[in-house]
C-alpha cells in the first residue's frame, strides 16, 4: 500500500526525487541557466559589441543593407582555396540547413516549399538574382527578405563551404 501510494505521487510532469541533490546541481554557471548575475536573468548572453572570437575569425565588414549586398555581390570572394573545400561536409551542412527550403538540388523545391509552408523560394539559377559567391555569403550571414540569418548555425568556415556547394548546385542547374 505504501509502495502504491508513493508510486502514485510520481507524476510525469514533475521531475523525480533526487538523492543528495547537491551532487547533481552544478556549482558553476551552466548553459541556459538562470542567474541574477546577468542582465535579464539569463546566463546565455550575446558577446559584447565588437568582440572577435579567437581563431582567425575576422569581423564581416559588409553592411546589412542593399548597398552592402551589392558590394558583397561584386567584390567579396571565398577565402577557401580548392584544397580546403570539403564538398562532402558541405553537402551535409547544406542538406541540414538549406535543403529544407531550397531543395537538395537547389531548385527551390525543398520539403517545406512542396508542403506549401514556405513559398517563393527561388531557384539558384534565377536570372533576375544572378547570385555570386559574395552575395550568397552575404545572404547566409544576414538573411534576405523572408530568409533569416544563418550566422549562428554555421561558423565562418562552414558558411564558405556551403557557399561553394551552392555555386556547384547553381552550375549544375545551368547546365
Amino acid at each position: 500500500m505504501v509502495f502504491a501510494s508513493v508510486m502514485s505521487c510520481k507524476k510525469d510532469t514533475r521531475p523525480n526525487y533526487q538523492f543528495m541533490p547537491n551532487m547533481y546541481e552544478p556549482v558553476g554557471y551552466e548553459s541556459y541557466a538562470e542567474s541574477d548575475a546577468f542582465p535579464g536573468g539569463v546566463e546565455a548572453q550575446l558577446p559584447a559589441e565588437g568582440s572577435i572570437p579567437r581563431g582567425g575569425h575576422m569581423p564581416f565588414e559588409y553592411e546589412n543593407t542593399t548597398e552592402g549586398y551589392e558590394l558583397a555581390k561584386a567584390s567579396l570572394k571565398n577565402p577557401l582555396d580548392s584544397t580546403q573545400i570539403d564538398s562532402e561536409r558541405a553537402k551535409e551542412l547544406y542538406d541540414i540547413y538549406c535543403g529544407i527550403c531550397h531543395g537538395n538540388n537547389g531548385k527551390g523545391q525543398g520539403k517545406l516549399v512542396k508542403r506549401e509552408k514556405i513559398l517563393g523560394v527561388p531557384s539558384y539559377d534565377d536570372a533576375g538574382r544572378a547570385i555570386t559567391e559574395g552575395s550568397i555569403y552575404h545572404v547566409i550571414y544576414y538573411g534576405k527578405n523572408a530568409m533569416g540569418s544563418y550566422a549562428n548555425q554555421l561558423n565562418e568556415e562552414e558558411r564558405w563551404q556551403v557557399v561553394d556547394y551552392v555555386l556547384k548546385l547553381k552550375a549544375d542547374l545551368e547546365k
Partner: protein, 460 residues
C-alpha cells in the same frame, strides 16, 4: 477587357453601316464621286482591318488570366516577399490591380513596368513608385524580366480571386462518442460488480433462512468443529517463518526497485511554456534535428534554439494549416495558432518587424545529467555519428517531448559495450584503432575496448 472588345466591334459595325449609307447616297447623286468613295472605302477597310487586328490581338493578351497558373507563378516568384492578405517584406497583393487603378489611377502598363524593372520605374521619377519605395524602407523589388504579359495576367488573376473562407469542421461529436464509449465500459463493469454483490447477498440470505428453518424444525445443523484457519496458521511456526521471509524478501524487492529509480527521470514530460510539437516539425515537415539544435555538432550542449531560428520559418508561417489546427484541437487540445502567437509575443514580432522587446522563454529542461557525469554531444554526434534517436527515442513522433532513455550509468555503459565503433573513414583515431584491434584480436572495436568504461572518462 471584354468591354473594350465590344466597343471596338460596335464601332466596326457602325462604320460599315455608315459606309453603306454613304454608298447609297453617292450612288443616288453622281457617278464620278463613286470612285473616290471606293478609294476611301478601301483605305477605311484597311484601317478597319488594322483596328480589327488590334482588337483581336489586344483581346488575346487581355484574355482572362488563369488563376491556377497564376498561383504557381505567384508561389515561385512573388511569395518570397508578398502574401495575399498580409504585409510581409513587400505589401499584400490581394486585388492589387483593382486597388492601384482605383486609388492611384495606375494601369496595367505601369504594373508591367514595375514588375519587370521596379528600379527603372523609380529612377524615371514616377511619384507613386518613389513613394512606395520609401514606404517600404527603400527595399528594392527583385526584377522579373522573364515574366511575359500572359504570366503577369495570370498572377493578377490569382491575386484578384476572392478570399477563401475555410470552415473548420466541428469535431466535438467525435469526442462525445469517445467519452460515451469509455463511460459504457465503466457502466458494464459497475453493473457486473453490483450483480455479483447481489448474488453473494442472496446466497447468504438463503443460507440464513435455511438455517432458521432447520432450527425451527429442531434439526441440529452440524457446526464446524475445526479451528479457524488463521489460528491454525499461527500455531504452525514453520509456515509463519516461511511467510515472514517471503514477505520481507518481497518488500525488499519493491524497496530496492523504488530506491534505484530515484533520480531517474525516464518518461519525464513537463509542460513547456510554448507547446512545441516535435511531431509536426521533425516528423511531418522533416526538419533535421541539427537545423535547430545546431550546436550538437560542435559543442558539449545540444543547444536550445534561440528564437531567431524559430523566426527563420515563422516569419512567414504565421498560422498552421487548417487541417493541422483542427487535428491539434481535436486530438491534443492545443490551439497551434495561439502557440505561434506566444512565440511572437516572446520575440517581440508584430507581423511586420521586431519591436525590440524580447522576453526569454523559460523552457523546462528535460534531459539533465547530474553534475558529476560529463557528457559531450559533439563527441557522439560528429565523431561517433550516433543518430539522435538512439538516445532520445522517436522524437519525430512526439507531440510532447519526454525523456525516452533512463540516462543511468548502466544505460551508458551498456551502449559503450555493445556499439561497434565506426572505424571506416574515421580519421580521428586511425592508428589507435589498428593497434587496439591487434591487441584485442578483433575485427571491430567497441567503445568499451577503446577505454569507454574508464571512470575518469566521464567522472572527474
Amino acid at each position: 477587357m471584354y468591354y473594350f472588345c465590344v466597343r471596338f466591334y460596335k464601332r466596326f459595325f457602325s462604320i460599315i453601316f455608315k459606309k453603306k449609307s454613304y454608298q447609297s447616297l453617292e450612288d443616288n447623286s453622281t457617278n464620278t464621286m463613286t470612285q473616290v468613295i471606293y478609294r476611301k472605302l478601301t483605305s477605311k477597310f484597311l484601317n478597319l482591318g488594322l483596328v480589327f487586328l488590334l482588337t483581336i490581338s489586344t483581346s488575346l493578351t487581355a484574355q482572362e488570366g488563369d488563376p491556377a497558373k497564376g498561383k504557381t507563378l505567384f508561389n515561385t516568384n512573388c511569395a518570397a516577399c508578398h502574401q495575399l492578405d498580409r504585409d510581409m517584406t513587400g505589401p499584400m497583393l490581394r486585388n492589387v490591380e483593382a486597388r492601384l487603378a482605383d486609388e492611384q489611377g495606375l494601369d496595367r502598363e505601369w504594373l508591367n513596368n514595375w514588375i519587370r524593372n521596379s528600379a527603372g520605374v523609380i529612377k524615371s521619377g514616377d511619384a507613386y513608385a518613389n513613394k512606395v519605395f520609401k514606404e517600404w524602407n527603400n527595399t528594392a523589388m527583385t526584377a522579373f524580366p522573364q515574366l511575359s504579359d500572359q504570366d503577369i495576367t495570370d498572377i493578377l488573376a490569382y491575386t484578384a480571386e476572392p478570399k477563401k473562407e475555410i470552415i473548420i469542421e466541428d469535431d466535438k461529436p467525435e469526442q462525445t462518442d469517445d467519452t460515451s464509449g469509455g463511460a459504457s465500459n465503466k457502466l458494464i463493469l459497475g453493473a457486473l460488480a453490483v450483480l455479483f454483490a447481489l448474488l453473494a447477498l442472496a446466497l447468504i440470505l438463503v443460507r440464513r433462512t435455511l438455517n432458521s428453518f432447520a432450527e425451527a424444525k429442531g434439526i441440529d445443523v452440524a457446526k464446524d468443529k475445526t479451528i479457524p484457519i488463521w489460528k491454525a496458521f499461527v500455531q504452525n511456526q514453520f509456515l509463519v517463518l516461511v511467510t515472514t521471509i517471503f514477505f520481507l524478501l518481497a518488500s525488499a524487492y519493491f524497496v530496492y526497485g523504488y530506491l534505484s529509480q530515484i533520480g531517474v527521470d525516464q518518461g519525464y514530460e513537463p509542460v513547456q511554456p510554448i507547446h512545441y510539437s516535435h511531431r509536426i516539425h521533425a516528423g511531418d515537415n522533416g526538419i533535421d534535428c541539427k537545423y535547430c539544435h545546431s550546436s550538437a555538432r560542435v559543442s558539449k550542449q545540444s543547444g536550445i534554439p534561440s528564437m531567431n531560428i524559430c523566426m527563420n520559418c515563422h516569419k512567414s508561417i504565421y498560422e498552421v494549416a487548417p487541417e493541422t489546427q483542427a487535428e491539434g484541437l481535436a486530438e491534443y487540445g492545443v490551439d497551434y495558432n495561439a502557440e505561434i502567437q506566444k512565440l511572437y509575443d516572446a520575440v517581440g514580432w508584430d507581423g511586420q518587424k521586431y519591436s525590440g522587446e524580447a522576453k526569454p522563454i523559460k523552457w523546462v529542461r528535460i534531459h539533465n545529467l547530474p553534475d558529476f557525469a560529463y557528457f559531450n554531444h559533439s563527441q557522439h554526434v560528429s565523431v561517433a555519428g550516433v543518430e539522435c534517436q538512439t538516445c532520445h527515442g522517436p522524437v519525430e513522433e512526439m507531440e510532447v517531448m519526454y525523456q525516452h532513455s533512463s540516462l543511468t550509468m548502466g544505460w551508458c555503459i551498456n551502449c559503450h559495450r555493445e556499439t561497434e565503433v565506426n572505424v571506416k573513414d574515421n580519421a580521428y583515431y586511425t592508428k589507435i584503432h589498428e593497434e587496439l584491434s591487434k591487441k584485442y584480436g578483433v575485427e571491430k572495436l567497441t567503445a568499451a575496448q577503446m577505454g569507454g568504461l574508464e571512470c575518469g572518462k566521464c567522472h572527474y
